[in-house]
């Protein structure tokens, strides 16, 4: 089935992008937290501060926005199907 094959290929490609992006974004968040601690004025061990900040990041909207990697192309395909066939 062409549609299943398309979905599998697109899913694999998007998953690679999603995983890379989420690792990159988390590394950026960690860098930011470490820089904040290094700037001084935080009476907390560095390790604990970073771990606490990252657990905040895990629940953040920014992290959920990365799901847009899946949502945006699917919405685009839906829009194209509507415009080409039904508009």
């Amino acid at each position: 089935m062409a549609v299943i094959r398309l979905f599998i290929i697109v899913f694999v490609v998007l998953s690679v992008i999603y995983i890379s992006l989420s690792f990159y974004s988390r590394a950026r968040a960690r860098d930011r937290l470490e820089a904040e601690w290094d700037a001084g004025g935080i009476d907390m061990p560095r390790e604990a501060y970073v771990r606490h900040g990252l657990s905040d990041y895990d629940g953040s909207l920014r992290r959920k926005l990365i799901l847009g990697v899946y949502v945006v192309p699917m919405a685009l395909v839906g829009l194209i199907i509507y415009l080409v066939n039904f508009a």
Binding site: A2, R5, L6, V77, I80, I81, V84, N85
Partner: protein, 213 residues
């Protein structure tokens, strides 16, 4: 060496341009003359210029294809094929071929009382290869000189592609400046240093030789 580099570069950009010109939608103002269906043999390499409406079509050596015969606003003929693109490339996701065939049949007019339509399509017409652009949609316009509308899809797609290429290019330049150029300079420096050392040694050798004269 320089010519080879240029040839590769030009060939690359010409193929990118040709690919985009084939794939992106274009609009023509036409008068529809007739619609028909004709059996096509699809066994040679020009198969790539026809669609894959469904899985079975891969196995067929020939099948019926719908066509739309038109005359363009400049008076020259143009024939479009009318095929589903389905879930395959290019990503138009066109499934309404039969509906478009009906619309086109309903929109035929003759030279005496012409009705003009904008037909959105992708692909090329080539008489030697017998290939046809694929019609995507149809909408009536006032006359042969009417506006075709702003090509939003092309603007968005081309801008996105340009942004991606620019992003890659900038990063490549930065990478080259920071990582490759210093190495090359190092190699060149050490090469020159080696050359100087050889010269110095040869000078000494020559001086020694001259003492024998």
């Amino acid at each position: 060496m320089r010519y080879i580099g240029w040839t590769i570069l030009i060939a690359f950009w010409v193929s990118v341009g040709a690919f985009l010109h084939y794939t992106l939608p274009q609009r023509d103002i036409v008068r529809i003359v007739r619609v028909f269906e004709e059996r096509q043999d699809l066994t040679d390499w020009t198969r790539v210029f026809w669609s894959r409406p469904d899985e079975q079509s891969d196995a067929f050596i020939s099948r019926d294809v719908q066509f739309i015969q038109t005359v363009r606003a400049n008076g020259r003929p143009m024939v479009y094929r009318n095929e589903d693109t389905g879930w395959s490339w290019p990503p138009y996701f066109k499934f309404d071929t039969s509906n478009l065939f009906t619309e086109a049949a309903d929109a035929t007019s003759n030279r005496a009382a012409p009705e003009w339509y904008v037909i959105t399509h992708y692909g090329w017409r080539n008489e030697f290869l017998t290939i046809f652009p694929n019609a995507i949609s149809l909408r009536p316009v006032d006359g042969p000189d009417a506006s075709k509308g702003i090509p939003w899809v092309n603007i968005i797609v081309l801008t996105t592609i340009a942004a991606i290429f620019y992003g890659i290019w900038v990063r490549w330049r930065r990478f080259r400046r920071n990582r490759i150029d210093p190495r090359l300079e190092e190699i060149q420096d050490s090469w020159e240093a080696a050359g100087d050392a050889v010269d110095a040694k040869r000078g000494r050798f020559r001086r020694w030789l001259n003492t024998w004269r």
